[in-house]
Symmetry: C2
Subunit: 191 residues, 2 copies
């Protein structure tokens, strides 16, 4: 049910990820999704902004779930986190450096120029941050320390994705993966 709407949303998510908000035109969304223009405005009467905001929200939920799943494999957190980031490196590489950091470009473009999308990005980042924090909490860190480290981990991964996509190489992300493992091991020792 609602496959047209779904196709539009999926196409928008991946186009925003690759090209950002302003780099993605409605015509491109239409041709990628296969849906006609009329359907787009029927399902998303608030136009490009509304569509993008919903795409960002969906991306946030999806990504948060991936974090929760990816870090809950049973392995100790340091190794799980390293594996998680290395898995992102694989995905970025296999996409031809088109995917990765599904929020980054939009977040930067719209931080001060589009309140609605800025709010959407903030909510999405909140979800990711809480997902990381929950695992850090379970790892034994205090709530405050978990929140602090969650922010840091998110920053490192975001940054790693930017560098990997720019350099067309998974190596920056893999460096991030190794450092994060080290960091968490040390964090546990200091407790």
């Amino acid at each position: 049910m609602n496959t047209t709407r779904e196709q539009i949303l999926i196409a928008t998510c991946s186009l925003l990820e690759e090209q950002g908000f302003h780099g993605t035109g409605l015509n491109q969304i239409i041709s990628t999704s296969g849906a006609p223009r009329g359907s787009l405005y029927y399902h998303f009467p608030e136009g490009k902004d509304g569509l993008a905001a919903e795409a960002i929200a969906r991306t946030g939920e999806l990504t948060a779930q991936r974090i929760i799943d990816g870090l809950g494999s049973g392995a100790p957190l340091p190794q799980a986190l390293r594996g998680f980031v290395e898995h992102i490196a694989d995905l970025v590489e296999r996409s031809g450096f088109r995917a990765g950091g599904p929020l980054t470009a939009v977040a930067m473009e719209t931080a001060t120029t589009n309140e609605r999308l800025n709010a959407a990005c903030r909510s999405a980042f909140d979800l990711l941050e809480r997902a990381f924090a929950a695992h850090l909490d379970a790892y034994g860190l205090s709530g405050e320390r978990a929140a602090e480290l969650a922010t840091f981990i998110m920053a490192t991964i975001e940054g790693g994705i930017i560098l990997s996509r720019t350099y067309h190489s998974g190596e920056p992300l893999r460096r991030v993966a190794r450092e994060l493992e080290r960091l968490l091991v040390i964090e546990a020792l200091e407790q």
Copy 2:
């Protein structure tokens, strides 16, 4: 001399920083710089791409110099790095979250869609990375370890800027600043 060309370049740098490549129109560059359309194409006959590429290159050089200066204040590297990142947090805040991460948005938008700008971003990141690596080298780390950590540090700062601009708060960057200080202190102990 050449102040018109200079004005255009300066305006382009700051507009790209705030809005990214596709979000920045030539009309906006013209009105911000005060230069007429004809002058833009006289000084930058290769159009928007050429202008943006040069703006990115200049931003890279400028930012690399800031790293070299900022970390060479005489303080021990861990504290200097922390101060450097906290200084960025101040700048981001004082700009109303319009500035910071002058390459990020363009790098993400163009990683796979514009070879010329992708190359420009890569060169710019190279400059930054080498600036960090030089200081880490002087701090006593091996060349390989310095390069590895330089990548990681860049990633954390890039990520911190994204989060700070999105959240309209310097706090994420300040968390990054504290973690990086810790990291470098530990790194020295382990030597």
